[in-house]
Structure formats: C-alpha cells, structure tokens
Amino acid sequence: MTRMEKSANFSRRALLRTGGALVVSIGAPMSFDFARADDAAMSAAVKPALTPDQLSSYIAVNADGTISAFFGKMDMGQGLFVAVGQIVAEELDVPFDRVNVFMGDTATSVNQGGASGSTGLQEGGKQMRVAAAEARRVLVAMAADKLGVPAEQLSVNGGVVQSNTEMAKSVSYADLIGGRYFNVHLDWNGKFGNPLYAPGKAQPKDPRTHTIVGQPLKRQDVAPKVFAQQDFCTDIKVPGMVHGRMIRPAIAGAVPVKVDDSAIKDIPSARVVWNQGFLGVVADKEWDAIKASQQLKVEWSEAKPPFPNQTALYDHIRNAPVRKRQVEGKEAGNIEDAFKTAARVIQAEYEWPYQSHASMGPACSVVEIKDGHVTCWSGTQKSHFVRAGIAAILQMPEDNVHVIWTPGPGSYGRNDADDAAMDAAVLAKAIGKPVRVQYMRNQGTGWDPKGPASVHQVRAALDASGNVIAYDFLSKAFSRVDVDTNGSKPYDTLAGQLLGADLKSGDGFGIPAESYAFANKRTAWEVIPPLLDRGSPLRTSHLRDPVGPQIHFASESFMDEVAAAMNMDAVEFRLRYVKDPRDIAVIRAAAQKAAWQTRPSPRKDQTGDKVSGRGIAYAQRNGTRVAMIAEVDIDRRSGKIWVRKFTVAHDCGQIINPDGLRMTIEGNVVQGISRTLWEEVKFDNKNVTSVDWLSYPILDITETPEQIDVVLINHPEIAPSGAGEPSSRPVAAAIANAVFDATGVRIRRVPFAPDYVKAALS
C-alpha cells in the first residue's frame, strides 16, 4: 500500500464519518457568553482550506482516537517522522503509537520546505510542536465546556481530558472532535518553505517535563522494508502506465537534429518523444523502453567539447572569471595591514572535486494526467516545489497538480529526482498516457546535479610570539546553485533547459562555520560560471551538507597546518582560539572519548610501511556543533588508507530521539569517509565519464571503520538544531589531519585514493 492510498483512505473515511452541518467560524473576538459557540466553531465538519494559518493543515484527531500529523517535509531515511511523531505525541499527551505522520503530500500538507538543510526538526519540528500544543489547548477548552470544569482544572492523559478533582468527569479527544476538523486560526508569519511558522495561543511544554521526546523509539518503516512490504516510488504502478527512458547526448550540449525510429520499429509499442533538446522513448514494457532507448538512431548537433580535461580542472577554477564575490560573516580588523606586520605567514591551497549524489537507484517518477489533473509520484525532497515546476512546464494551474512524495532510492540533496519528475510529466503529456520514468545507472551518476568542485586559498599571519594575528579564507568554486535546490522552475531542470527555458544560474557558496577568534579575520567566496550553461551533466547544486565538506576540509586542515607549524597539539590549538562554549565542549568531549594524547603532529615514533595517526576537526552548522577524531592506518606502499575508528561529539540542542540521531551521525560519517577517500566525478572534454559504480567508486564494506563512537551532548533547554548533515562536514579534514599525523605528509586534494596518496607519500 502506498502512502498516497493511506492518506486518501484516511480522507475518504473522514468524509464518510462526518456529514454534520457546516459550522462557520466567526472571526470576531468572543465574550464569555459565547464560549459554547466558540468551542463549536473550533471544529468543523468540512476541512478548512489547506493553508498554513489553519490548525487543521497540521493536525487531525480521528474518530478512533488516532492523530494524523500532516508534515510538509519528508524523511530521507534518518527516521525524521519518528521524531516528529514524538513531538506531536508529547504536546498532545497521547501515546506515541497513536500518531501517524503523513509526509510531503501536496494534497494534505502545506509547503514547509521539504527535506532541506537539516531543518526537519529545527524548522519543521518546531512548527509541528506549536501546532500540536495548540491542538491540545483547543481540545482542553472544548472539554472544559463540555464537562463544565475550568480548563485549569483539567489534565490530559493518553488522549483523555479529565477533571483533576472529579475523576468521573472525563472525555476523550475522539469524543470531542474525532472525525471532524479543527477550525482554528494560527498566527502564520506569511512565509512558505523552511521559515514557515504558524503558532497558536498555546505555549509548548517545558522540555523538563518531556516523557516521549528524548526516548529512543524505533522506526516503524524498518519492518516493512525488510519484509519487502514497503513501496518506493519505483514501485508505483497505475493503470495504463507505460515506461519511459530518456536519451542523453554523448557530447554534453549536443541536441538531436535527426531521429530515425526505423531502428526501433521491431520493438512493440515503442514511441519517440522529441522536442528540441528533449528526447525520450516510451514503451508498454520496461525492457522494451530500455532497448528502444539504446537502439534509436540519433544524429546529434555538432557540439564543441565543452569541458577542460580533468587534469586542468583546478587550473580552470583558479583562472576563471569571478561571477560573484562575497565576504560573509563578520570581518574583523584589517587583514591586509595585519599580514604586512606578520613575523611569519602560513598559506595553503586545497582542492575538492565534483561529486555525484550517485543515489542507490537512479531517480524514478510516475506521472498521470487525467481530466486536466496531474498526479506525480516522486522521491523528491521537495514535493511542493516539484508541483510548481510541473505546473509551469505543462502550463497548468498549480491547483491541478498533485505531487505525492513516495520514498525514493536514496537522496542527499538536489539529486536527479526533480529532473525525473519533470521528464515524466513531459512524456505523459506528449503521449497521453501515464508514464513511469526511471533513469539508467549511467544517467543517475552521469547526469545528476553535482556537488561543486572548488579551490580554497587560506593563509594565516603569525606574530613573533607565534600568535595567529590574521586569518584569510577564500573559496573559488562553481556555484552551489547553478541549478536551484528544487525543481520549481523549469530552468532549474534538465527538461526545462532542453526545452529552451531562459537560463538563470544562481550564485552561492559559503564560508567556514566556527568560532575561532582571530584579531583579523576575513572569510569570503567567489563563484565562477558553469562549464556548460545548458543541459550540463556538470551543473551544480546541493549535495549533502552543500559546500560544507569542501570548505571545512580546507579550513580544518589548515588549522592543523598552523598548529603543526607552531609545534602545538591540534586540540590545544583549537581550544586556544575557539571561543564558543558549546564548541569548546564538543572538542573536549571528542578528545576525552578518544583518549587524545596531547602532542604535536606528526608522530615521529613510527618506521616501516604501516603507520597510524589521529586527527581532529570541528565545525558548526546552523546551531549544531560537531567535533570528530579520525584514527587511520596507512599502508605507505599501496597508499591505501583505512579509517579504523571515528569518534564524534555532537551537540544539536535538545535531542528528540537519541538512537535515530546516533544512526544519522553514523551514516554521515561513513558517507563522509566515502566522499573523502574515493569520490570524484571523472570527465573528459566531452562528457562525464563517471557512469557507474566502477567509474564512481564509493566506500566498500571491507573498508568500514571497526568502530564509530558517538558522544551525544543533550541540551533540553535549547531548541533542536539539525543533525542530517553537520557531521558530514569535518570528516575529510579529520582524516587528512590523521594522515598528516601518521606520515608527516599533507594531502590537500580530495579524494585520497590510493594512487594519489601513494604518489604523495613517495
């Protein structure tokens, strides 16, 4: 059963159960005399409009006493819905297992920004918390009226409102409103997406009283997954559906000029859909669609190979014109003057390659267009934005487009999911049948939006006593938003670009997030134009912790370089300059857990080919702090690095679910090791040549750390910040610093593949 069906069944059941008279809310303030009318108006038989200022847009109490929470974000596999369910259950005083969280369906949720920037709890959970608190307040007010007991004398236990003094006086949530809808106005801030916030009159609970929040509750979706009962978006089938496959050029930027379908005449039902640069095939059977996409004879336009050779990538970045420069953060002192007075200057340059989402499966989407209405099933991180994109590319009103988020084959940002949804929409419209598109592996890896390649130039000025008096950090890179983080605009999708949309490449990068207090400090970025402006397999966008791994590989490697130059211990160096107390706490916690021995790097006590080392790195991310220590073994002969152990100290404010958090951190660390040791999108001057798992290798299970220790620092008094990405960012630097500790050799370019490391060590 799909989530859509569950959701729709719920709606149908709710409709059948209701049917009472329409109750119209009166917007004017109520006097005491009208309290009863007010309570009645707090619920309605017909669901109010799905707008952010309605409580019913977030919370419903069903006739059976279960709670439905409608969430405008979605889970990418870290168990976000468990944490959201805990928050809702906590505020409503109902058992956790009575709450069902419905995610990312544009027909049942408002646009809370989708999966975005680790804000599932930071922003999404915050909204669900105030909505659930308001629901409880309203339900207690309704109970007060019904029981004739003042609200202050009522308490809620397991979804039953009860008089504190007369035990007989009680009423359940289900009896109060079950099956009807809240008709309660919230104080919406007028914003959509991540910043959407719409509190009611209720104050959420004091975190010290939490009993459900903070518990290590398990995910309900694991059993369905291991028993093969869970549908992914790849599994959606609708009547009359055909299979589509897209055809991409061998030379990036080329467009079809002649398409000869005689080569696919023997394939039953195969049809070509060709419009400008957009070229796809459909067939009734999936294998037929695949064969047709391979057999179709296409003549492509003469395209000049658009890319430099891979070996020239970083020179290209260094020499490219700057499209936008931005100094971010607080610029302290006067950098240039400080460097003039320096007794010693340390500088280094770091390089990070293009990386691919390389999701476990290539993206898939199903689109059905029926009676002027579009239904799209997608694993996108941002269904509400995909809805806008489909409406735009099909030139239909947004109200006629319904996007049903269905778990996809892995997602770590703006991967290929939004492109697949748009391709499916264009194909479905062209052939008048529902179409399921799944990309092939070479497209999933070769043609997804890439994490941007970058060069980072860093320098520090030391005075005669060895104090850091100035710090200057500059990234020069491809933009993090050459195509935007969502598919709401056709020009940000392959289909839109191939159909001729006016381009609008965005500018954005970032700066290190830390609290090093140097008297003179400047952190800046420069963005360069894309290598190919339209339909590029190297278009760049958000890949997990967008630009965080790049930037902090450079900044935290550099801090180690400065510490080593000063013959200082790397932890001691950080504690000397880092000023934020929570930052200091995570650094200390990681060092303590890993039994860090205070000494400068590199080690000088090792001989032979097998050497070991340890390295630390730390970073902030939107309120979260993380410090991590890598312990590595290196075979100098082969250049092979094994990250034997990782120790992570993590502070994201209040912890909602410690087990979910721990697993999220483990995933970040392992994926981060993979990105550091192996991942680099290869290309030649014509196209991307990383097209499968051989040409885009990731970490193998034989290379997995034997131990990942996680120290969770809980701050119930601080609202939760994100955890989906922060522990991705210091991984590369921690490993680089450990490699330096072991070998005395500084690796300044990712990935640390064996050949590269071997050459660096010799």
Binding site: K218, V226, D235, K285, A358, M360, G361, P409, D659
Partner: protein
C-alpha cells in the same frame, strides 16, 4: 520475439510472456508484481536486484529470463514473514539498519546464503562475503552489527 516461460518463484509457478533476453528483474517486478528486488545499476555492480536461484544469490538485472529454466527463484518476500522472520530480518529490525532502504534487498539476500553456509563466521569473513554490495546512505556499520547478530542467532 516474445516467448512463453514458466517460472517458479517463491514456491508458485507463473507463466509469463517476454523476450528471451529480458532480464529476470523486470519480469519479477513488472509481470509478477514483486517489488523487491530493485533496479540499482543493471550492471551487476550493486546487488539491489539480488534473488536466489536454486538457493544461490544471483543478480537478476543481468540474468536473461531464458537462462532460468527449471530453476527455483526466491525473492526477499519469501525469505521470511513478520510472523516467521528470517534471523537477518529480526536482526535488521533490532539494529534499525536501513536508512533509505533501497539497497537492503541485496544485503539480506546475500547475507542469508552466506550465513546458511558459514556458521560462526569471523568479522573479516562477513565483510568479504558482502564486499561489492553498495549502500549509499552509509549504514555499513549497522549492517555489520545486524549480520553478526543474525549469525549469533543462527548458531
């Protein structure tokens, strides 16, 4: 040209009409409605499509249906049930292994035959047996915990 094939899948015999070169994966998914296995690469590089053929793991994405013959196919759906789970399924739930979960078919089906044939395996043996399978979410550490837990359950 399409031909008729008789396939024994999860104990039932099915008749399907397909081109002989059609990979088993598409027949299982599209003709028989078995949503596991998954398409990951179509190149036998990731394992997401793994099924058992006569008790041995194969990559169904590159196995033409014409080569199956009388072989008996088992998919994840028949490895165990909520009422009678395979130890690996129990362990996966206990350890809360998957994140996106798209890859787990390959790990479970590969580990199932390995643990059947190798009692009390060492950590290195487990890693070697699972080498080559892909997980993009980085759940490797949890996978190893679960497989070791299942190995202990299977004695």
């Amino acid at each position: 040209m399409s031909e008729k094939f008789s396939l024994t899948v999860n104990g039932s015999v099915h008749s399907v009409t397909a081109d002989p070169d059609t990979p088993l994966l598409y027949v299982l998914r599209d003709d028989l409605g078995l949503n596991n296995p998954h398409f990951g690469c179509g190149l036998a590089q990731c394992g997401a499509c793994t099924v058992h053929l006569d008790g041995q793991p194969i990559r169904s994405c590159i196995t033409p249906i014409s080569t199956i013959g009388d072989g008996k196919i088992t998919t994840l759906a028949a490895l165990g049930t909520p009422e009678k789970p395979h130890p690996l399924q129990t362990a996966y739930i206990e350890e809360q292994v998957p994140q996106c979960g798209y890859c787990i078919n390959g790990w479970l089906m590969t580990a199932a035959t390995f643990l059947r044939d190798n009692k009390k395996p060492t950590d290195a043996q487990i890693k070697d047996a699972l080498s080559g399978l892909k997980c993009r979410c980085g759940t490797h550490v949890a996978i190893l915990r679960a497989v070791k837990r299942a190995a202990a359950m299977m004695g």
